[in-house]
Symmetry: C2
Amino acid sequence: MAGRPRSFDRDEALAAAVEQFWRTGYDQTSIAMLTQAMGVTPPSLYAAFGDKDHLFDEASTRYFERTCEAVDAAAAQPTARAAIARMLDDTARAHTDTRTPLGCLMLTEPRLAPQREALRDRLARRIARGVAEGDLPSSVRPDELAAFLVAVMRGMSGCARDGGTTAEVLAIADTALAAVPRP
Amino acid sequence: MAGRPRSFDRDEALAAAVEQFWRTGYDQTSIAMLTQAMGVTPPSLYAAFGDKDHLFDEASTRYFERTCEAVDAAAAQPTARAAIARMLDDTARAHTDTRTPLGCLMLTEPRLAPQREALRDRLARRIARGVAEGDLPSSVRPDELAAFLVAVMRGMSGCARDGGTTAEVLAIADTALAAVPRP
DNA sequence: AGCATACCGTAGTGATCGCTATGGAATGTG
DNA sequence: CACATTCCATAGCGATCACTACGGTATGCT
């Protein structure tokens, strides 16, 4: 009834796929690049993950979960302003970390608009809480501020892709923080 | 000595190429799409523009010139702050104009990093002038503020690509303007 | 008019893409 | 041990890519 078990770790292979998609994007990542990065032959890849689209979906979902964890960690800061500052700082440092690919998969990949929207909603909720608790003035429109922050993070990601240093991207984050109103 | 002249207008064909690259990006734009959009057969295209890379270089150069004109027009505003406001407003409206492709070719195309840098330098010079003239506080670092603005515009472009409305993108611009210090 | 030139349209080149059919090897079960 | 099942490896499928070699043909110069 049972046959030979697969000789590679599915999670490790998926992690390698995430990194490859992250590094070169969906279009520029060929199956050959994926099989080499994952240490798996094409038939094994298709048996384990379906087609390229499905593999990307699974990879981007995993990436998105990691991103959400980071956002939630930042959101745990006592004030909304501190949460935003932490998030921008994390973004700057993570996207210029030389140990990982530059930039952000989510914010540069055209097909991940729903994830960006979900991220914006999370931000908007944290900001709304900050408004309710008096961290931010009541004139703040949570969805607008969230959209601004997503735009800034996307710009930071692009700057990192273009070779911007950690200091340069951090400066963008600092400048953006000035746009967050004080109570 | 002279043979048959070409039967299409080179400038019009280049304009069509600009629009096609703008709409679908470099990678996703095939020669077949270009020939159809330009109303030109492949051999004529290669005779007139060289290969695909060279055509893209020429198209992006033309696009960049238009962008520079818009930036210079905004820079003519009396104060640096007004120039920045005008530029952000232009960006929001232009990139959500339904008569043209959504988003910005320059800010979404990976290979146009030098143009982005040139744009940032132009902005930095205008900001430096504003600092010198007292429009902005002397604490402003022109290059950092310029990098921030380029990042925001890139984020606005992406938001427009994702289907963001003019109002949404304008709201991002307004929020970003709050990050520009007052004198 | 007549010639030389450079156009246009078709069709096809080699390369690469995502994806899969075919075998032989390796494992778990009876 | 023998069998069933699922694995891995090679090789190749059709489709599409950027790009070009051929014809016929329309133009400008003499």
